[in-house]
């Protein structure tokens, strides 16, 4: 089967190599194998495969990873824009601070 990849050059994922301690948790938690750890430092491989779920950033003990976390869900974006609560189980709150609890990362229901 063809590898499923979404749009090119849009994701917000960045890695600060200076802060990386090579613990490899990002490599473990990423559901799309974006990270590999070579020589005690994480490397972003296929960046376009990132779905901005935020698992890597949440589990990075040194905050070396930044990603603007969100749900890639059109229905949630529409609901958010119309100011109604999403029918989807994922909640999209584009106006809030988008790093920690606000936007979510599921693809679901």
């Amino acid at each position: 089967m063809a590898t499923l990849t979404y749009l090119k050059d849009v994701v917000t994922l960045t890695l600060d190599e200076e802060l990386c301690i090579g613990c490899a948790l990002c490599e473990i938690v990423c559901p799309h194998a974006v990270f590999t750890v070579d020589d005690r430092i994480a490397v972003i491989g296929d960046r376009d495969a990132c779905m901005e779920c935020g698992a890597c950033a949440r589990n990075c003990p040194t905050d070396a990873i930044y990603v603007k976390v969100g749900v890639g869900c059109a229905a949630a974006v529409i609901s958010g824009a119309l100011g109604i609560e999403s029918a989807c189980c994922c909640v999209d709150e584009p106006e809030q601070k988008v790093t920690e609890e606000s936007e979510s990362s599921c693809n679901c229901c």
Partner: protein, 350 residues
């Protein structure tokens, strides 16, 4: 617990009191409940009371598997572990699956620490390890759980069914177990949800077109309804099928990365079939306008529904969806509006 759930087989004694035992493997009733959830029949939230459960006959050295309190998720854990002895710690995710709950913040560091304390887990097991689903990671910071509870988080595989292999391999996951794929089988089980979701608002729309169709045309009201009204409903239904069934089914093979583009292709095919069916009707001006109207409205509808499938897919980012929507939504609205004007015109001059 007010009423004992049907999958509870009894209780087992622990140093901190009785813990409910769960049946491993699924009963016919479990399977029926799953089927009903997929088709939106009855209640959508089958929740499990949060807390600790025993699967098999776990003891102080048995592993602790952490999961969500959505019934389907809980089932996926207990069905794959027959013959194994495990503790299952269920977090209160408000009846939502692990991945969604992790994103929403209910499958979280705080909730995990809370449930560990409530269950008095450190008095039940002698080790300090927890096996978490990998897809819980967006909500849980392993290093903070360690700090807050003393338990070390081990991220297991994406799928519960790989847990036995993961444990056999000495708590090591293969790259395949760590990757969230989106195979045909997983896409097929989502089709009922996509279809029922779309039909909920499309059935009233289809009915409106059906009865409006009688107001213009060569025959009397009911003659017009039976020709143009039937065509309208059939076209809209075909557009729904193109977007909500064909897009999930054919996802990897439809050209282009944006989901709305994938829906555009299936919509064009569906519209092509409708136009072939119209056939000789295309000789009159009103027939041509009507054909153009359905070409535009069906592709707009299918592209929209295809775009909506991003929410159920397992690899789309919010940044990507926003970029896609900025271009696709105005085009969809434009095509639908022009289609609607053409359709009303064709009804008026017919």
């Amino acid at each position: 617990m007010t009423k004992r759930s049907h999958f509870i087989t009894g209780e087992m004694a622990t140093p901190v009191g009785p813990v409910p035992c769960v049946e491993s493997g699924l009963s016919l009733r479990d399977r029926l409940e799953t089927w009903k959830v997929r088709w939106r029949i009855g209640r959508m939230k089958y929740t499990i009371p949060p807390g600790l459960y025993a699967l098999g006959s776990p003891d102080a050295s048995s592993e602790v598997v952490v999961t969500a309190n959505f019934k389907l998720t809980f089932d996926s854990v207990r069905r794959v572990l027959p013959g194994h002895d495990f503790w299952i710690l269920v977090l209160d995710t408000k009846g939502v699956n692990v991945w969604c709950a992790a994103g929403k913040g209910t499958f979280s560091t705080g909730e995990l620490i809370h449930q560990i304390a409530t269950a008095r887990l450190s008095e039940i097991v002698e080790h300090r390890r927890l096996l978490l689903p990998q897809l819980g990671a967006p909500g849980v910071a392993a290093h903070e759980v360690k700090k807050g509870s003393g338990f070390k988080v081990l991220y297991g595989p994406v799928l519960a069914r790989d847990i036995p292999a993961f444990i056999t391999a000495g708590m090591e996951a293969t790259p395949a177990m760590r990757t969230k794929s989106f195979p045909l089988g997983e896409r097929i089980v989502l089709i009922p949800i996509e279809l029922t979701g779309a039909l909920r608002y499309m059935i009233p729309v289809m009915a409106a077109f059906y009865f409006l169709s009688g107001l213009g045309g060569p025959g009397d009201y009911w003659a017009n309804v039976s020709t143009f009204g039937f065509l309208a409903s059939a076209s809209l239904f075909a557009g729904v099928v193109a977007g909500a069934v064909l897009v999930p089914l054919l996802l990897p093979w439809l050209p282009g990365r944006p989901f709305s583009l994938k829906g555009l292709w299936t919509g064009l095919v569906a519209a092509g079939i409708i136009l072939l069916w119209l056939g000789s009707g295309l000789t009159t001006l009103s027939g041509r306008l009507e054909a153009g109207a359905w070409l535009l409205m069906m592709t707009a509808l299918s592209a929209f529904l295809g775009m909506n499938f991003t929410g159920s897919s397992t690899y789309t980012s919010l940044s990507g969806v926003r970029k896609e929507m900025r271009i696709a939504v105005p085009l969809q609205i434009g095509a639908a509006a022009v289609g609607l004007i053409l359709w009303f015109t064709s009804r008026l001059i017919a």
